[in-house]
């Protein structure tokens, strides 16, 4: 069977990760595919994976108390989907649905958590790659909260 190592090594998220760590990661990786409309994960489910999107588009959705679900963010090729696998209690906070046919590599979060526990070097590498992504998505969420294009009413 062909290993996922070359694909992972090329992905921006794992760029420059040393070979030893990459091998540890490959052991937790698998190819997945989601047809348009399929959920990658649902709010409340255990968050035991994360995804490196290779192709396609995934929508992060939240369901307001009333009405239809709202898409808060979309993720595409080269981007990372999901970080709840790192944050106790390891449950997804949102729905993730494939907007179009999406191919991704899934990484077993549980397996990675264990490996990080054993090898703090790997833990550091993963966190230093994930934290900027988490930070950016939080900044973006705040800006969306500002409703900058809205101007519906003067803000006080």
């Amino acid at each position: 069977m062909k290993t996922l190592e070359p694909i992972l090594a090329e992905h921006p998220f794992f760029k420059n990760l040393d070979k030893r760590h990459l091998e540890l990661v490959v052991g937790c990786a698998a190819n997945v595919r989601f047809d348009a409309g399929r959920f990658v994960f649902r709010e409340g489910e255990p968050a035991d994976q994360f995804y490196l999107i290779r192709q396609g588009k995934v929508a992060i959705e939240i369901s307001p108390p009333q009405g239809e679900p709202i898409i808060m963010q979309t993720l595409s090729e080269g981007e990372i989907l999901g970080w709840s696998w790192l944050v106790p209690p390891y449950h997804w906070q949102f729905d993730a649905q494939a907007v179009e046919l999406t191919r991704a590599i899934t990484l077993d979060g549980k397996c990675l958590r264990e490996k990080c526990q054993e090898d703090h070097g790997l833990g550091y590498e993963l966190l230093s790659r994930l934290v900027p992504i988490i930070g950016k998505s939080m900044e973006a969420a705040r800006l969306q909260l500002l409703d900058v294009y809205g101007d519906r009413a003067p803000r006080s």
Binding site: E61, I71, M72, S76, E100, Q144
Partner: protein, 266 residues
């Protein structure tokens, strides 16, 4: 100081709250410039020219209904008269784009003042490298000029990417802030010129992102907006530090306004 009267040739509804007034009589203007439009008895309001500068027959103004004057302008029909003063203000640096990749970042109604720049660039498409349009809006219902995107993409190879702040399930496009589109397009930051038009906060975070990609301040252009009454530097309302937005702007090199760009309540 006294408006010239023009007749409305056509009114095109762009979105639920935005429409384009096309005025007879035409006139010469530069991409980025604006006119003061007067609605009888109600008042005047600055509106960017949003049409093709090479189309001299009609003057396009894309207007969002947000106040008393713009509300009055929504009532105009074919044949109605409107007072016009202008064009006023500085222009997008089309000449400086020669030989460069060009990135246009628009937020909301900010696409309107950028459209004349797009038309001008496409007129001599082979003078420029990549042309990228990144467009962020509130929802899909707020998107302007969607019908033109396919032509810009297909005929001229413009990389048009659109994103909205939130969407329902029917939306197949991107959701997120406009800067999330930057990694998804091809251009060389070191050899590119960027024109940004949108709310100040959107321009601020866009600039941070562009600079982190290696863009020089001198290759980033922004537009600014302030209250404006006279458009000729007499009324004092549109001051932004040393600049009068009506005369020195609305288009500024970021290099020029950098030191005061983030100052609150300036």
């Amino acid at each position: 100081m006294v408006p010239e009267l023009r007749r409305v040739k056509r009114v095109k509804r762009d979105t639920f709250d935005t429409f384009t007034l096309m005025l007879e009589g035409g006139g010469v203007f530069l991409p980025g410039q604006f006119n003061m439009l007067y609605a009888f008895g109600v008042g005047e309001v600055p509106i960017s020219l949003s049409g093709d500068p090479a189309e001299t027959g009609l003057l396009h103004h894309t207007i969002r209904d947000v106040g008393a004057v713009t509300r009055a302008l929504t009532r105009l029909k074919r044949g109605s008269q409107v007072g016009v003063r202008g064009p006023f203000g500085s222009a997008w640096p089309i000449e400086a784009c020669r030989g460069k990749d060009v990135v246009l970042m628009a937020g909301g109604i900010g696409l309107a003042p950028l459209r004349p720049a797009i038309y001008s660039l496409l007129k001599e498409r082979d003078r420029y490298g990549e042309i990228v349009l990144l467009y962020g809006a509130r929802t899909r219902q707020d998107l302007l000029y969607v019908e033109e995107f396919e032509r810009w993409r297909g005929k001229f190879g413009v990389q048009v990417r659109v994103t909205v702040d939130s969407a329902g399930r029917g939306w197949k496009g991107n959701v997120g802030v406009v800067t999330t589109l930057l990694p998804r397009v091809r251009f060389e930051p070191a050899h590119a010129l960027t024109m940004i038009c949108g709310p100040e906060v959107m321009m601020r975070f866009s600039i941070l992102e562009l600079k982190s990609l290696g863009m020089e301040d001198s290759n980033i252009y922004v537009t600014l907006e302030r209250n404006m009454k006279c458009a000729v530097g007499f009324c004092g309302h549109c001051q932004f530090g040393p600049a009068f937005i009506c005369k020195d702007g609305p288009v500024f090199s970021f290099e020029r306004v950098r030191s005061i760009f983030g100052v609150r309540e300036l």
